[in-house]
Symmetry: none
Subunit: 187 residues, 4 copies
DNA sequence: AACTAATCGAGACGGTACGTCCGGTCTTGCA
DNA sequence: TGCAAGACCGGACGTACCGTCTCGATTAGTT
């Protein structure tokens, strides 16, 4: 009962958070600044999110509903597309700013860590599982391998390139797709 | 001239930082707490490190002088040892707490980012380069591949498993060593 | 036209305000707490009172229609009764909590200040004027003195005892009645 | 040990508080505004005063070391001077703004209430006691009366005039001095 | 019986102040 | 000059409260 939440406020918060993430980065992001830019009160933010981290999570990882990777006809093609999707997502200014900060902060919040995994890792793994199932159906793979391992093999190098080496992931998708496909098919 | 720095102070700072990192994590670490536990003044810290990040960096990534991987006689063996070394380092409580935090904070400090890369990435890549050279000399590889890519392929999955999936990297070294070796030799 | 105000709501607001004043004091009183205790919405309060101060004013000073002091037959007796009435009112838990708070807040609201004076000071002065008139009629006083001054002389010491010295006003009425009567009759 | 408090900071806080009290009143006074005007951090304020009330108390009631009233040679004269001193203090812009607010807020803080009494009431009573002692020595009074009562009789009407009736206390000192002297000497 | 208009409880809203905390700097007196 | 202690500025945090507004549901009086 009572007055319902104003959905324009929800959107204003997320939009302000995203634009400030892109401008100031994760460390420079302030709840007061978000409230000011969104032209709302801080209470409206804390009514929705218990902490700054949850707000950033909602703004940056919200619905990473990356659509199921299209069937390209081959494991190699499917993997390349999936890696490229991860690369595209990770190089978004908002995600690029938010993800390292979130990865750091979730280590002191198991609850948020679980939600991050659900929204980020699990979604990627779902696409991956479908892709691998197709490869098995095609006869390219004898049986579907450990999804956790393959996911680490696919997402890990992207993260290492972008966040550890601090290099551009240009051309990474094809090279990584080829390598992972080769490793899986054992050829 | 004047009074020389007390090396016991250096050690007390690093020890206090490490123990607090393990206890409270990166986000819960405060410079005041380090000073109190080390029974020193804050000025003694800031005389040595310009920022909290540098202090953590010094305490957690200090001299990752992981020794050149021993020659096991095969690319597969060498890679497995290298991956295991990375796994061992990353699963240290101190490193596990510090690395995500540092990866987040260095995004607003190119200077520290460069030092982090030098101390962390470059060291790993040096070991990797030597290892690959040996494989070329043995005839296992026709020519030494792109070190950045191989490094991403080796370190990335470890990071993804530990920091993204939040899983234990037990048994990862053998599996990953085998996969990367296979991908490199094209078999 | 439209739905008429529910008088039970009026009473619930005032009762809740009084009980919370007695429990939490003026500073600890919140409009939300009043609404919750009265089991009404905040809008019902602000439909009646423009500010929290007006609500407290209505609840604590409402109709201090202290009845005209009974004619005891002498100036001394009449004054003693009047002082006792002021003491009784001021030591009410609700009034004791509300009056200092109102006296503080009305300094930034001339409108409420005027209403406070009308309801509180003027009422006391009316009783005082009648009392003094009777004394003149009796021949105890040659002419009626300045009511403001006599009021200050009568109400002031009560306030000083209760709010400045924070002491109990027990026995104050007789002593103060005697002193003021003596000062007025010049004996 | 450690760095000592900077007395210029103390003074800056008090000066800023006083000027803001005079400008904005008690209700409009903000700790942030004090910090900004004093060009100091809020921590420097809260290191000295636990609450806003204590800060205002220190700034407005600080050392009301009203000097012992000069001996005018008569009880009437001495009382008139004392009342005038109270009037002068109470009509100071700073005190006028602070005292009602403090009187309201101390009702929820027995600790501050005691300190207020010590610094404000007790000081006035000390002067009063000396004055009464002189009157006894002169033979104007048979014995020194109850100081609490006389204080209420002296300070109360001033407060009633200024804070209840909201009138100017011009000329109050002589009139009140005469009345209290008459009441005490019983003439 | 429908319509109108103001009420009601509930609770979200913008704004603003609170008191706490932390990072990085500065200032004591002592060694 | 280094050191422990601790005060300093600046600024963000999350909480609380005020007075306003918005919802859906009553509840009269008016057609």
């Amino acid at each position: 009962m009572g007055r319902p939440r104003d959905s324009r406020v929800d959107e204003a918060i997320l939009a302000a958070t995203r634009s400030l993430l892109a401008e100031s980065g994760y460390a420079g992001l302030t709840v007061d600044a978000v409230a000011e830019r969104a032209r709302i009160g801080k209470a409206a933010i804390y009514r929705r999110y218990a902490t700054k981290q949850e707000m950033v999570f909602a703004a940056a990882v919200h619905s990473v509903d990356l659509p199921p990777p299209p069937d390209t006809g081959s494991l190699l093609g499917d993997l390349t597309v999936l890696v490229q999707e991860i690369v595209d997502h990770v190089t978004t200014p908002v995600a690029a700013a938010a993800i390292p900060g979130l990865l750091a902060d979730i280590r002191s919040s198991p609850e948020l860590a679980a939600r991050f995994r659900d929204a980020f890792v699990t979604v990627q793994q779902a696409g991956l599982a479908e892709l691998l199932g197709r490869a098995v159906a095609r006869g390219e793979l004898p049986s579907s391998p450990d999804v956790d391992l393959v996911h680490a093999l696919v997402a890990g190098p992207v993260f290492a390139t972008v966040y550890l080496q601090n290099r551009s992931p240009d051309g990474l998708a094809e090279r990584l797709g080829r390598i992972v496909a080769a490793a899986l098919t054992g050829v």
